[in-house]
Symmetry: C2
Amino acid sequence: MGGAIAMALRPLNPARLLACDIDRDTVAAALADGVIDEGFTNAVNLLGRCDVVFLCLNPSTLLRFMETNMAAFKPGALITDIAGVKGGIVTVMETSLRDDLDYIPGHPMAGSEKGGYAQAKRCNFTGKNYILTPLARNKPENLEYLKDIIYRMGFGRITETTAAEHDRKIAFTSQLCHVIAAALIDCEADTAITRFGGGSFEDLTRIAMLNAPMWTELFIENRAELLRRIEQFEGSLDALKELITAGEGAALEKRLAAVRDRRGAMRG
Amino acid sequence: MGGAIAMALRPLNPARLLACDIDRDTVAAALADGVIDEGFTNAVNLLGRCDVVFLCLNPSTLLRFMETNMAAFKPGALITDIAGVKGGIVTVMETSLRDDLDYIPGHPMAGSEKGGYAQAKRCNFTGKNYILTPLARNKPENLEYLKDIIYRMGFGRITETTAAEHDRKIAFTSQLCHVIAAALIDCEADTAITRFGGGSFEDLTRIAMLNAPMWTELFIENRAELLRRIEQFEGSLDALKELITAGEGAALEKRLAAVRDRRGAMRG
């Protein structure tokens, strides 16, 4: 995602685009591609020069990074992140952020199951959702500035909400969907099953190609909301199962028609 | 699907392409588009002239149609269908088909949640799967002829299997996936939830726009296999839920990595 964000920032002609990755080859590739102006493998060497910082790290790594590097940020810097769970980060930033820094938590809803810099070009931001969970202390002009950058990167819709609301919604649209995709693959050992695929199975299991360490962290970090969502889903699944078991055609058809209507009423 | 099949047959230059639909407007549209040579709203008027027949009907309608029109088919005709559950159809055809007719049950894995003739152009067969569940009595030359047509329509892979095996596999790749998509929408009333969508939710619920009467019929027709699949899926979902509940990061990560490996080993 860091690579994809750099690629989306490049055409905006920033004064200077600096990037850091612990992997030397990634930095070299981004430099060779002209995606970044300068590359680093250690953040302390560039943070003091950056007016705007996108932190592209898993939640726990992000918190460690902020603790380690708090003193290195340029005075007055605008900082944002892309982590998929926001509650823990917002709690920490509300209390322990340096007074002069402006940290605006964010979540671009445009990931891909294919990670790494080499796949960054596939990451298309056009028309995608972006969630921001601003802190009470954020400067309005910084928030407007960040939103302007996000729209210019191609995103189609920004939703501002609280970290708690973000985590409740994302538990459904993202984490529950990943758990379901994983369970679908987990329960079928036959790898030749794809001979019987017609699109549905492929769609439902694309995201089963998951980054195991990252999703483990997101599932456990947001476990209260995720477990509530799994149980809601199981409730609906059980209701459908009962109608099928009982052969209740009329009731089942009515419920499926209601599903179709509701999905149709959802935008996107 | 009838419209999509006619469109795929058109470039193969059949001697004459005849079609029947109970909806007069659909027939008129297909004629106006040059997709068919002659159109009918009552099958008895064309069956006697057809050497090859694609029956595009739900399972129960198909069985009624065969019973009603058995005498109308041209002697020696090759008949196939596209129904999503095959056990019941094969059982009936094995016993009650006219001696001179050759019925080869089929299932093109290329449907769309958007039905109707107007959407038929969106139905792309290129590279898609096609399942055939031949009867013991099928003539080898007819089977080869049908397979040739299927490949020339653009399909990428034909799998020949038994009706029982088809119904077991399809319960997983198709019906279970539709039940899951329906349950996901069933359990969330907030239609603005798509503001928080990033692709996963959209992928998992595309097929929730389902044709309620058809899927009701398919679910109930294949209910024994489908219920077995729902229970397998619930078993895996419960296992993941327990790991998340217990915060068993290492075990969860291992299981998700195994899911990723298995999905990667699946073709397509």
